[in-house]
């Protein structure tokens, strides 16, 4: 199944990714092949039973709600490229 350009553009929007014109053509071809492979699953005839999943996480088994020492601010900010005692981003509101 060939994936349409508008589908890839929508996926890029959801994924926050950009491609140039050549890149878009290439990824369209690759995604068409990949989705053909994924389509094999459509012939499988069973439905998902959500009551059988999710038993690994025990939400009733959480730690005591007591304050703990957190990471030092300067250590966390050290990995950001633009900082001024906080994360710096372009203006969101003009």
């Amino acid at each position: 199944m060939a994936v349409e350009l508008k589908t890839i553009e929508h996926l890029c929007e959801l994924s926050k990714l950009d491609y140039d014109e050549d890149g878009m053509k290439k990824v369209m071809g690759e995604m068409s092949d990949i989705i053909d492979l994924m389509d094999e699953i459509k012939s499988f005839d069973l439905t998902y039973d959500d009551t059988k999943d999710g038993n690994e996480i025990r939400f009733g088994d959480t730690r005591e709600d007591v304050p703990e020492k957190s990471f030092p601010t300067e250590k966390l900010l050290a990995n950001a490229e633009h900082t001024d005692d906080c994360y710096v981003v372009p203006k969101v509101v003009e």
Partner: protein
């Protein structure tokens, strides 16, 4: 001391008997890394200064008679496991300069043992691949043939152990990323049961499938490593509250009476004839040791690749949404907040990572969710049911680890579908949350390339798969890597 293919237990003995000191031992490995890693490219970061300090501290413990199994043992760690103060790149431009402010739980546990960090090993970018050729920094080569891939995504860890650039290493396995490179590089690697090892501090690819595990020279060393890294962790909500046994306990015990299942779909079309024969020959050797072979079937295997890729990519799309270029990671350019994020992600991620994010968002998006993602979850339940059924009549399952031996670098670069299909032998083990170990069962006659077989166990029964792997390895003579 000759460190070629040295086992952890050999090194332990040498350290305890004062045949070598911990700083001297790590010096031997760095000498070898300096000599050989220019060809293998297994490490992204080598941590000589830290290692020397770690080794001196380890030596003090040894001198005080306080050494435990891994005190003073040099280890390599896959570059998606966070170590406080040590660059952790996930082999991605996105995290080229990222220095974690904390240790992964497995690192805390290894620190408690007094291990020595040799460095961080290369991998496919964000663990997405089976060749280590999507690494942005070190496209690792196979020590058995430098023109071939080492497998992946933990290819750096497997190649480092195969080339004696580390006696053992940690990797991570989301769809075969410990077992397949172990197979390609002729070493032994185990993916523990999901929940057995904490994922805290492992940079997430697909959270319901990821698991950390060791890559070593043999099953005995894997058992020693597992003893050090397993256990419940309150930092990981999916970490299991189960007792941690002594994983060395069943090693050396005879396997007579054990039932080994051979699901016919794993030996069907698509699996290289040499691989098939080699694994079945090994099965018959185990039969001679007293095990019983059981024929069985896993019909859902034909849907395993789409089920795995839909689940894994859906989770990856969500997990990788945190990389926005603001708090950490590669920062692009943009006049607006939106432009900044899009530019950071478009330039920071490699092509394979971007393809998987697109596929994940496709599977999760409106109109496709039921047809793809929910169908994949239904298949996951069916795969679990079929494994449960096989385990009603068998103790372990034996399969090839990969459909082929290591292939040539570049051979699958432009064909993502072929690359995905190569994961057929390993992905169901992650989907069903089972433990699986890969060990070498032979070599190709013409080129001497390693062939791996996988022993799959019941949930939390790592002891039995280690026992079977050990029983096999005791009668097997491995060939050294050419390098």
């Amino acid at each position: 001391m000759d460190i070629k293919k040295a086992k952890i237990r050999d090194l332990r003995k040498a350290l305890d008997n004062k045949e070598i000191s911990a700083p001297e031992l790590c010096g031997e490995y760095f000498k070898k890394i300096d000599e050989k890693d220019g060809e293998v490219l297994s490490y992204i970061t080598v941590t000589k200064d830290k290692a020397l300090k770690d080794a001196e501290n380890a030596q003090k413990l040894i001198d005080a008679g306080k050494a435990t199994a891994l005190t003073g043992i040099p280890l390599a760690i896959k570059d998606n496991i966070c170590i406080d103060g040590v660059k952790t790149t996930c082999a991605s431009k996105m995290l080229e300069n990222f220095i974690p402010p904390y240790n992964a739980t497995v690192i805390e546990k290894l620190n408690a043992e007094g291990y020595v960090l040799l460095g961080k090993t290369s991998m496919d970018e964000f663990a997405m691949g089976g060749s280590t050729q999507t690494s942005a920094f070190a496209k690792t080569r196979n020590p058995y043939d430098l023109e071939r891939v080492p497998g992946g995504s933990s290819g750096g860890s497997a190649a480092a152990v195969a080339a004696s650039l580390a006696p053992a290493a940690l990797g991570s396995d989301t769809g075969g990323s410990i077992r397949q490179p172990s197979s390609f590089c002729g070493v032994t690697g185990i993916k523990p049961t999901y929940g057995r090892v904490s994922r805290y501090g492992l940079v997430a690819f697909a959270s319901s499938l990821d698991q950390i595990g060791p890559i070593c020279n043999d099953a005995r060393d894997c058992a020693v490593m597992l003893n050090a890294i397993c256990g419940h962790d309150r930092h990981d909500a999916t970490s299991a509250r189960v007792d941690t046994p002594d994983f060395t306990e069943k090693l050396g015990q005879p396997i007579n009476g054990l039932k080994i299942a051979l699901p016919k779909e794993f030996y069907a079309e698509g699996i290289d004839d040499t691989v098939k024969k080699c694994v079945l020959d090994a099965a018959h050797e185990l039969e001679k040791q007293g095990a019983t072979l059981v024929d069985c079937s896993m019909p859902s295997l034909k849907y395993a690749i789409p089920a795995y890729y839909l689940i894994a990519c859906a989770e990856a799309a969500s997990n990788l949404s945190r990389f926005d270029g603001i708090k950490y990671g590669y920062r692009g350019e943009g006049r607006t907040f939106e432009e900044l994020i899009r530019d950071s992600r478009s330039k920071g991620f490699g092509e394979e990572v971007k393809r998987r994010i697109l596929l994940g968002n496709y599977a999760l998006s409106s109109g496709y969710y039921d047809a793809y993602y929910k169908k994949a979850l239904a298949l996951k339940q069916e795969i679990i049911r079929q494994y449960d059924k096989i385990f009603e009549q068998a103790d372990v399952i034996l399969t090839p680890t990969a459909p082929t031996p290591a292939y040539k670098i570049g051979e699958q670069d432009n064909d993502p579908v072929k690359m995905y299909q190569a994961d057929i032998c390993t992905v169901t083990v992650n989907i069903a949350k089972l433990p699986g170990i890969s060990t070498t069962c032979g070599y190709t006659a013409d080129k001497g390339l390693p062939i791996g077989m996988s022993i799959i166990g019941k949930r939390f029964d790592e002891q039995t798969i280690l026992q079977v792997a050990d029983a096999w390895e005791n009668g097997f003579v491995p060939l050294d890597a050419k390098l």
